[in-house]
């Protein structure tokens, strides 16, 4: 009896400790110039049981999802050199592997661990990076993503975004009732946390620039209301509840304001809501629809969707009362702009004969790149390093991501229900 119980408890503990991913990642379009890299399984030098994490698998998956690397699958590794061991680079040169990562983990007392890793340039036979990191039981995945960030930055020159989060909305329909959830997970789908559950729709999550809060629209009590919520405590604040539409909240780059869409004055227009005193400044005034505001990094200019020309198009305005300037002319439906963090590009929804697709536009040249195939793609969101654009595939009710150049694509499927409106967090501290 005692044995059975302790076995049950052990099994339960194993189950609880093996974190699961809410999203399954499937690469749907790879690129030929992805860099071959071999990540050797990290060795464990403790006497007791090693922590429940496959370090090399997390790092490989991260690098694979970036579209920039082609990690060698674990069962195809040519050899498995250990940390601090002399590496025979010739073996790897023959296999046309450009880079090699070896690592080790050892206990550092009281549920703490020391993780060491080295990144080698195979052709030069040189070490490019060598780190020794201390982590604890609760930060294992975080530390693994940090290793991915360090490797990514070393080899691409771009800051890695593997330790960031994604917010999204899920819908489950059962027996005629829908359950809407606002969730936040790691970018690989692990560690999902439910921020809000409702029987009425939840929409338009937007991250505060420091990554500590979300703004969103909730239709609880059959009214559109805008809330902000502190993620660490769950405390939330009702920000806007005017008659009619209260929608499309987007945090300003300085974190002090929300751009929102309200129809309290007759039809949908864009307002700037100051969070400190909830004062409103009306930014657009037109009989048509003005909505989906997005902030430029200057904390002043807003790009938005308007049907003032008859069909939805994107416009730019830099202060109340100024005449908005139209910025899209190609196509009959251009909407839902997102601005890259460097302010040089926008991603938006573009309609052509075969449906709604994600496109990007260079703001200086006006050149448009159609990045996806449709037919119901929407809700584009840039990674904080601008390398990828996350979006929703409406027809499959799944999430997908495409590299900013359109060459690499992946799908992120949920195990059940619909998932939509992905929003990539900023870099987190």
């Amino acid at each position: 009896m005692m044995i059975k119980q302790s076995l049950l408890i052990t099994l339960l503990m194993l189950w609880l400790s093996s974190a699961h991913a809410i999203l399954d990642v499937e690469i749907t379009q790879g690129t030929e110039d992805a860099l071959p890299i071999a990540i050797i399984p990290f060795s464990w030098s403790g006497t007791d049981k090693q922590p429940e994490l496959n370090w090399s698998d997390v790092v490989s998956s991260d690098l694979l999802r970036s579209g920039r690397f082609a990690p060698v699958p674990e069962n195809e590794l040519l050899s498995r050199p250990q940390a601090n061991e002399k590496i025979d680079f010739n073996t790897w040169r023959v296999g046309s592997i450009d880079h090699l990562v070896v690592g080790s983990v050892r206990p550092a007392g009281d549920k703490k661990y020391t993780v060491q890793f080295q990144l080698f340039d195979v052709y030069k036979g040189e070490q490019l990076l060598g780190y020794s990191l201390t982590t604890d039981m609760n930060s294992l995945r975080y530390t693994a993503h940090h290793i991915s960030d360090l490797i990514f930055q070393q080899l691409t020159g771009q800051k890695g975004a593997f330790n960031t989060k994604v917010a999204y909305v899920t819908v489950k329909r059962e027996l005629g009732f829908a359950t809407y959830k606002l969730e936040v997970s790691d970018t690989d789908g692990f560690n999902p946390v439910t921020v809000l559950t409702s029987s009425q729709p939840i929409m338009s999550p937007s991250w505060s620039p420091d990554g500590t809060r979300l703004a969103y629209v909730s239709f609880e009590n059959n009214h559109a209301q805008i809330y902000t919520q502190i993620l660490s405590s769950g405390e939330r604040y009702k920000i806007s509840e005017f008659k009619g539409l209260n929608g499309a909240p987007v945090w300003s780059p300085d974190g002090k304001k929300l751009a929102v869409t309200l129809s309290k004055d007759g039809n949908p227009d864009i307002y700037i809501l100051k969070l400190s005193d909830k004062s409103l400044q009306r930014l657009t005034k037109h009989w048509g629809i003005d909505t989906e505001p997005a902030w430029m990094p200057d904390n002043k200019t807003i790009v938005f969707t308007s049907n003032r020309s008859g069909k939805p198009q994107l416009y730019r305005v830099n202060s109340a009362g100024a005449k908005p300037k139209r910025i899209t002319f190609d196509g009959e439906y251009n909407a839902s702009a997102e601005i890259s963090s460097d302010g040089t590009k926008i991603a938006f929804v573009y309609k052509d004969n075969s449906g709604f697709k994600i496109a990007s536009m260079d703001l200086e040249t006006g050149v448009i790149d159609v990045l996806t195939d449709g037919p119901l793609d929407e809700s584009p969101s840039f990674a904080p390093n601008d390398s990828m654009i996350l979006y929703a595939e409406g027809e499959r009710a799944a999430l997908a991501a495409v590299s900013s150049d359109g060459r690499f694509k992946q799908r992120l499927a949920t195990k059940d229900g619909e998932v939509r409106e992905p929003t990539w967090s900023p870099f987190l501290k």
Partner: protein, 187 residues
């Protein structure tokens, strides 16, 4: 200001022109699952308020705007969904009388409230669709106020594409989802 003008016009209109009741032979289809059927049968022209001469008594009884008429399947007022074309917020001809009658119903029953829920199909972006649903509901609201319904009786909410009634990705579903639903409540 614009609302005030509407109310004045509506009052003049109502005082000079008693409410025209919906007619018994009106071929308003019940709210079935097929949006097209609803609009097609409503297009028969028999609902046209100007076509009163061939009229007869109301199926729904002598008081067309009595309080429970909205729950009476034989009353046109039991039809409480108005359908729209893609990306449009213009009220189609075949729904003008229906909205007029609902407006008069509210004017006759000041203790009743209606929530106008605007919806769109799944095509296009989510927040744009919320704005489009808002415009649809506002258009219905304006027509109702023209008939004497008051601002206090009408609540407007747009769900955009968030609450479809049909889930397939084709026109048969989309046409049912592009709608304004009237949800009545006692005050």
């Amino acid at each position: 200001m614009r609302n005030a003008i509407f109310v004045i016009v509506a009052v003049l209109f109502l005082s000079g022109c008693p409410a025209q009741p919906p007619k018994d032979d009106a071929a308003v289809s019940q709210q079935d699952t097929d949006g097209n059927t609803a609009s097609d049968s409503a297009q028969t022209g028999k609902l046209d308020g100007t076509n009163q001469t061939e009229g007869s008594s109301f199926v729904a009884g002598d008081e067309p705007y009595r309080k429970d008429a909205i729950n009476d399947a034989t009353s046109p007022l039991s039809q409480q969904t108005i359908y729209f074309d893609f990306n449009a917020d213009t009220i189609k001809e075949e729904y003008r009388d229906l909205i007029t009658w609902h407006g008069r119903y509210l004017a006759s029953n000041p203790d009743m409230k209606v929530r106008l829920e605007g919806h769109t199909d799944e095509r296009g972006t989510r927040e744009y669709n919320v704005a489009l649903g808002d415009r649809r509901a506002q258009a219905v609201s304006r027509m109702m106020m023209f008939q004497g319904a008051t601002n206090k009786q009408i609540d407007v909410v747009s769900f955009g594409e968030e609450k479809p009634v049909a889930l397939d990705h084709d026109e048969a579903s989309w046409s049912q989802n592009r709608r304004v639903q009237l949800v009545y409540e006692a005050m």
